[in-house]
Amino acid sequence: DAGITQSPRHKVTETGTPVTLRCHQTENHRYMYWYRQDPGHGLRLIHYSYGVKDTDKGEVSDGYSVSRSKTEDFLLTLESATSSQTSVYFCAISARGGYTFGSGTRLTVV
């Protein structure tokens, strides 16, 4: 999707290890979001940021932390990955009229 990229696209990790997902935007938008998508739940907000070093929790923030040291990068860290964090993670930016989403990161915790 134009202007927003996520990395990696796929990752398999072991239970208990830390994992960091990256979201990069080239649109200079102030607001950025991390969601997870699971069958039957739609998208649920994990954390969001409203500026450099300004972040806040969403509805499913336990076990996750975020950082935003530059406008263009928003990092999501799973401090100690658990099997319940196996999911597809989407980053989004808030643009005029709606959100623009990245292509997602499929994370499997084994």
Partner: protein, 112 residues
């Protein structure tokens, strides 16, 4: 918790037919948006309707909003096989610090 709930969960129609999906929500909103997601891809924004609007059109899409019933509908006219996707409503509720909350989606299959 989800703010929007789509209905039906799955819908299968023939090409050329119209598809109607519904969304209900719980609290007062600023706006409601519809998104589409093809398998394995990110969500794509389709249309936004504000709380003071009742109907909006975009190409073959028609969205209605009834704030008294806390519900919205998305109509896709003259459906095509390429419309096969999941469709999500999302609400920007005042009570959620204006964060977007998504429903679980409607899976639409259009048979050629």
């Amino acid at each position: 918790s989800q703010q929007g709930e789509e209905d039906p969960q799955a819908l299968s129609i023939q090409e050329g037919e119209n598809a109607t999906m519904n969304c209900s929500y719980k609290t007062s909103i600023n706006n409601l948006q519809w998104y589409r997601q093809n398998s394995g891809r990110g969500l794509v924004h389709l249309i936004l309707i504000r709380s003071n609007e009742r109907e909006k059109h975009s190409g073959r899409l028609r969205v209605t909003l009834d704030t008294s019933k806390k519900s919205s509908s998305l109509l896709i006219t003259a459906s095509r096989a390429a419309d096969t996707a999941s469709y999500f409503c999302a609400t920007d509720a005042i009570s959620n610090n204006n964060d977007m909350r998504f429903g679980a989606g409607t899976r639409l299959t259009v048979k050629p």
